[in-house]
């Protein structure tokens, strides 16, 4: 073999290897992005369920407080009838099941998008996105076309619905994109809108959760005041019991800042994918992975 031929073959081999490494890096980075998007969704859903559970707990203890603090009628010397159901069934009214399902669809929009670009990075066809995912994406898109998503305050509802339509269009037809970079770039403004909405909802939820935690804690505090009046130093034991019981009754309102920071990291990671040609988005995606893991731990532990 002539030296020039050898150099050419070696050069081609090195080039192919570099290309393959780049592709593998991109696949690896996008896989991490996808997993982190799912972790973020897990933490987000945990918060939604906490909102419902807190309402049920608050309602029970508000009723119990009314029962316990009912005053005897001075003339009849009898207590008024105050209902107390010790095993109540709870149908959340603040965040109804229907409203929760809509929120879940907003989160699904993000995870399905992450799945789609992962399929794109793997070079596989639509078959990798299951029929269920395709069906869900179509369902979400239908809802958005009917203006079914409501913006809290961060953005206009029409813009939010349009953003969901754009993202779900990419999910349903991701093969029209040749590269992850191109797909990520095309949804970046829409992803930013969806994330801004989720962040605004989280802040409202935090206000609601703090209000309910305050409500139950106030009930206990007032009851302990009464216990002290009646039992004096022995009320110390009531205080100790309340101290032990309260954390299991009402979860401390979660700090949504880490969850919102995770959502911001998701947008930043997507922005990095939109700019990077191979594994260059790894720092941003690693940051997202780390934040998403922390958010899952935080929100699952505060259930």
């Amino acid at each position: 073999m002539r030296p020039l031929q050898l150099i050419a073959i070696l050069g081609a081999a090195v080039g192919m290897s570099a290309c393959s490494t780049g592709l593998t890096q991109m696949q690896d980075t996008v896989t991490k992005f996808d997993q982190a998007a799912h972790s973020t969704a897990t933490a987000q859903m945990s918060l939604f369920h906490q909102v419902q559970a807190a309402e049920c707990s608050r309602d029970f203890y508000a009723q119990a407080f009314q029962f316990a603090t009912a005053q005897k009628d001075q003339k009849s010397d009898k207590y008024p009838v105050v209902p107390l159901d010790l095993t109540p069934s709870c149908t959340p009214q603040e965040l109804t099941d229907a409203q929760l399902r809509i929120r879940q669809k907003l989160m699904d929009t993000i995870t399905l998008y992450a799945d789609a670009i992962q399929a794109l990075a793997s070079g596989t066809d639509d078959a990798t996105l299951s029929k269920n995912s395709q069906s869900l994406a179509g369902n979400i898109q239908g809802l958005a076309k009917q203006q079914g998503f409501t913006a809290v305050t961060s953005t206009d509802a029409a813009a939010l619905n349009a953003a969901v339509v754009t993202i779900t269009s990419l999910i349903l037809d991701h093969t029209k994109y040749k590269e992850v970079k191109e797909a990520a770039s095309s949804v970046q403004p829409d992803l930013t809108i969806v994330v801004a909405q989720l962040k605004a909802e989280n802040l409202s939820d935090a206000a609601g959760l703090a209000s309910k935690a305050g409500s139950v804690t106030n009930d206990f505090h007032t009851a302990l005041l009464s216990a002290r009046e009646q039992r004096g130093p022995a009320s110390f034991l009531d205080i100790a019991q309340a101290h032990m019981a309260l954390p299991s009754i009402v979860a401390a309102p979660p700090d949504v800042t880490p969850l919102n920071a995770t959502l911001d990291a998701l947008v930043a990671a997507n922005q990095a994918l939109a700019r990077a040609s191979n594994g260059g988005a790894l720092p941003e995606v690693s940051d997202l992975v780390s934040r998403a893991q922390q958010a899952v731990t935080l929100f699952n532990s505060s259930k």
């Binding site: 409202s204 209000s211 106030n218 009046e229």
Partner: protein
């Protein structure tokens, strides 16, 4: 679909009620008389229940449910006004009572615009 300005008004009302609740909580924690604490706690319950309805309205995705939710909120304005009067009577510190009443007034003003 609720307009941006309506959603902004709801968010403002939520924030005002939360501040009023926090001030009430301070009064409950500082109370040394059980009956006063019970009355203040009941007032807190009323505000908390109203806040839940505001949050529900905020989550409404269609015009019909939003209209229902806001009509329910507006129909309870007189109840909140009664709470204001009760808080004035219960809270010993006049300035704090005025602050709480003021935040509830802000919420009522925003809700009237829905």
């Amino acid at each position: 679909m609720p307009t941006l300005s309506k959603q902004t008004n709801i968010a403002g009302a939520i924030a005002s009620i939360r501040v009023a609740e926090n001030l009430l909580t301070q009064q409950i924690r500082a109370a040394t008389d059980t009956l006063t604490a019970i009355k203040l706690t009941n007032e807190y319950h009323n505000l908390d229940s109203y806040l839940s309805q505001l949050l529900h309205a905020q989550n409404s995705a269609d015009d019909a449910s939003f209209a229902d939710a806001t009509a329910a909120l507006q129909s309870q304005a007189s109840g909140l006004e009664a709470d204001q009067a009760a808080i004035r009577a219960i809270v010993g510190d006049v300035q704090t009572a005025a602050s709480i009443v003021n935040y509830i007034t802000q919420a009522l003003t925003l809700i009237a615009k829905l």
